[in-house]
């Protein structure tokens, strides 16, 4: 980093203000997008200039391969038009199939280049280490070298976003961007480069290229969202991470009760950190007239793990659904397997009919969550995290009739409030078990933690252990107060899904708005973890 320009620095605030000023005062409307491009380039140059080559490789390869795909589509359409009368239906079909294979090969080239870079930088050492362990266990004298590799800033996010664009071009769902600089802006737009959201080209790109004038309400709402993001990140997440890191540094010495507390704290910290960061990103974009998708919709209110993943990191979920889940679930392999199962004796039973019907989706879910796990990090514990979530979803799909039967037998009313509460609690517990593998330093430690939940509970020992985690009692009180504030805001938002809190706030009396914003700013200034007295933690999702 040339200098620190991460979200929680004053440099970032000055940078955003300067970008705002130049953008709104830029005289040539048609080229306002160049201000965003310049700002994004500046941000990336400052934050990750050593690795700028990687984002350029992605942008350039995406640009040319998208053009190549478009050219293939255009020339094929032209040829088909010319040969409309000349070719038989068979010949046309044959040509289309050949073209499809060719286009797929070209698209695969883009995927291999870009996911190849990501996989190499992020996973090479993990695979080399694992291979060395396996070979060592079998007594082979083999050692794959480990390399000193660094992850370019936002590589997962911009790679996924670019490849989404390539797949959309391949599917002819989106127009190809002819201007390489405009495509570079889509890939590198600074509010999303650090931790997403992973935007879809059609949803974001035109907003980036259109000129936006100063809009008081948008600027106000954007700033309110940024303030809310700062509050979550600086007051809650960066405070909680102090205790969590202390436990991670000496993981084996804490008992089950302390670890239970830390996993709960982690659930809060991760949500506050990630959603806080996304709020800052969305707020900055909103000020500039750009609406980025909301990446969170109160995930801990989910009634099933499936719903949880539709509310948590929504853009990643949507990407995986569009570009991985459907292609797998709708692939010939799974559809044929499903059909074959239906034809067997087992397939004709009630259970068999259900299983053959949901087999493609349940197996695709497991594969998708395996990818989610690997995406989160290069460690077996992340694989375990993904498999745990995938297994739960797969089982919930496969065993749905059994659950339905139990509910019917017990005369449970699905719409009752206590059943909803039970579902939320159940889902939350499942989520927490997944988090164990996030927090634990290794897969083995994660398994030990689960064991400790049942065998090593001691409240008074935990109290004395929690006191040594680097936070004062007053800090825990601030965290609690912050959690309650998020909970209240979430409940209000959950009850008014058709609007957002900022629009609701606009309708309240001036003095109430004044007081709430004033308290918000003061709370961040006083209770935020920033400055040299503290080392504000990097955003958790930045590492992905």
């Amino acid at each position: 980093m040339l200098f620190n320009i991460s979200y929680t620095t004053f440099n970032f605030i000055f940078f955003v203000l300067a970008t705002m000023l130049v953008y709104f005062l830029f005289p040539v409307k048609k080229y306002k997008w160049t201000v965003l491009l310049a700002a994004s380039m500046f941000f990336y140059a400052v934050a990750g200039y050593k690795f700028a080559a990687f984002i350029l490789i992605t942008s350039v390869s995406t640009y040319f391969i998208a053009l190549w795909l478009e050219k293939m589509t255009a020339s094929s359409k032209k040829l088909l038009k010319e040969k409309k009368k000349e070719w038989s239906r068979e010949e046309k079909k044959k040509y289309k199939n050949r073209l499809k294979v060719q286009k797929r090969l070209v698209m695969t080239l883009a995927l291999v280049i870009n996911f190849g870079i990501l996989a190499f930088l992020k996973y090479y050492n993990f695979f080399a280490g694992s291979l060395n362990d396996i070979m060592g266990n079998f007594g082979f004298d083999f050692s794959a070298p480990t390399l000193k590799l660094f992850l370019p800033l936002g590589i997962s996010f911009y790679t996924f976003q670019s490849m989404g664009y390539i797949i959309d071009v391949y599917r002819e769902k989106t127009e190809t961007q002819k201007n390489p600089l405009k495509l570079l802006l889509f890939v590198s737009f600074f509010p999303q480069i650090v931790q997403g959201p992973i935007s879809i080209y059609d949803q974001l790109a035109h907003q980036l290229y259109e000129p936006h004038d100063f809009d008081f309400t948008r600027v106000k709402h954007g700033m309110e969202l940024i303030l809310w993001g700062f509050a979550k990140k600086l007051i809650i997440a960066d405070r909680a991470v102090i205790a969590i890191s202390a436990v991670q540094d000496d993981y084996g010495s804490y008992n089950g009760t302390t670890l239970t507390f830390i996993i709960l704290l982690y659930a809060l910290q991760l949500y506050a950190d990630f959603s806080g960061g996304i709020d800052i990103s969305r707020g900055v974009a909103q000020i500039l007239g750009i609406d980025m998708i909301d990446n969170f919709k109160r995930p801990y209110f989910s009634k099933s793990i499936n719903e949880y993943w539709r509310r948590w990191h929504i853009s990643l979920g949507a990407w995986l659904k569009n570009y991985l889940f459907y292609p797998i679930a709708m692939s010939n392999v799974f559809l044929t397997a499903s059909k074959k199962m239906k034809g067997t004796r087992f397939g004709k039973t009630a259970a068999g009919a259900h299983i053959s019907k949901v087999l493609p989706t349940s197996v695709a879910s497991l594969i998708v969550f395996l990818v989610v796990g690997i995406w989160h990090g290069s460690d077996w514990k992340y694989v375990a995290f993904g498999v745990w979530n995938g297994m739960i979803i797969m089982l919930s799909i496969l065993l749905q009739p059994v659950f339905d039967l139990i509910i019917a037998k017990l005369h449970i009313r699905r719409e009752s409030w206590w059943y909803s509460l039970f579902q939320m609690f159940r889902t939350f517990i499942v989520v927490l078990v997944g988090y164990v593998f996030d927090v634990a330093p290794s897969f083995g430690d994660g398994m030990n933690t689960i064991g400790k939940f049942f065998s090593n509970q001691n409240f008074s020992t935990a109290l004395s252990q929690i006191e040594t985690l680097g936070l004062w009692k007053k800090d825990y009180f601030v965290i609690l107060l912050g959690a309650v504030t998020i909970l209240i805001a979430s409940i209000i938002q959950e009850r008014h899904k058709d609007t957002n809190l900022r629009t609701m706030l606009d309708k309240k009396p001036f003095i109430l708005r004044f007081a709430l914003l004033y308290l918000g700013i003061m709370a961040v200034v006083i209770f935020g973890i920033y400055g040299s007295g503290y080392s504000a933690a990097d955003f958790v999702y930045m590492q992905f």
Partner: protein, 384 residues
Amino acid sequence: MKKKLYITRVVKITCFLLAVIISLSLLQTYFLRRLDHNSIRLNGYYHEKEESIDVVLLGASEIYTSFSAGLAYNKYGFTSYPFATESITAAGTITALKEIVRTQNPKLILIEPNAFLYSNTKNEEKEPHIRKLIDNIPLNSNKIEYINNNVEPDEKLEYYVPLIKYHGMWRDYPEPARRVVSTILQDIRGRSILKGYRTTTDIYNSDVKKINKRIGSETGVLPLNQELERKLRELLTYCVEQDLNVVFVRMPHMVYNKTYDRVKRSNRAEQIVNGYGFDYLNLERSWDKIGIDIKTDYYNLDHLNIYGTVKMTNYLGNIIQNDYGIGKSELSDSQKENWESAAKSFNQLYRYCDELIKKDERIQLEEDINTLSAIKKYSSEDFW
């Protein structure tokens, strides 16, 4: 209609920003700030009317524990103030001198050279020692110059806006409340009562072998640390350029083997200071003349207690009056009231200290609400 909307918005935003800025400023000035005896001393200094102080004493803790401005006024009639902070750095001394010139331009400036006598520059890098001075200087060209020349680029903002550094201090409450209230009261009052004086009610008794008797005949010199000598010469050049009436005063410390090199470095500093045409009063050689009793007049190795302060103030006051011609100040009625009150308060403080020392109660006394409230019951008549 649109115009009205714009005006309403501008008024509302201005009110909101004002409320935020005022609140942040109050937080930075009083509530989330490292308040201590240094901040209260310098705050008191800046309350003194411009060009109303005859003598300013500049240096580290030796200054504010060895000299009472209230007593000096009572006995000799000149006004004085210690512009001193704990373990002041050499670079800080230069900035402090510029501040003294900017605000008071006194008839005489006494500089304690301790900051230049260390064998290395570790003290220069100690953030607490830097901040005890710089945080308590209001934002002006001297402070900006210091920050620009001495602070790492990524730390500068925290020096300009100390709230960034200290905002986490809410955890320390209610402990800092005493000093917050003391500072607010000092601001309301508009003057310092103890004029920066601070002491500890104790008598030092140590097994460390003191070798002060050797100092009188010690003529050996040791070179100053190169960087510190460069800063001393920078300070002296500034004094020459500004034509300042400056005297260096080495306060009497208890010297033992481990600190004896400082005596030799002090001798070298004396040569340098004299070379620029300034006096260097080495009071470490003047124990007998001052009348210091090693058994009763210190509260630790480097600091005189209240008994030592009285002797030191008498001795130095005499020199200031007789050798440097600083006579009685001509003061307005309100100024006179201010200084007479300071003199009386020191009389009360002396009696309070005396009682505590005799009762063997060791506490630190400075201008805070506890001390000011405790001394009220004692007589303000002259104690000598």
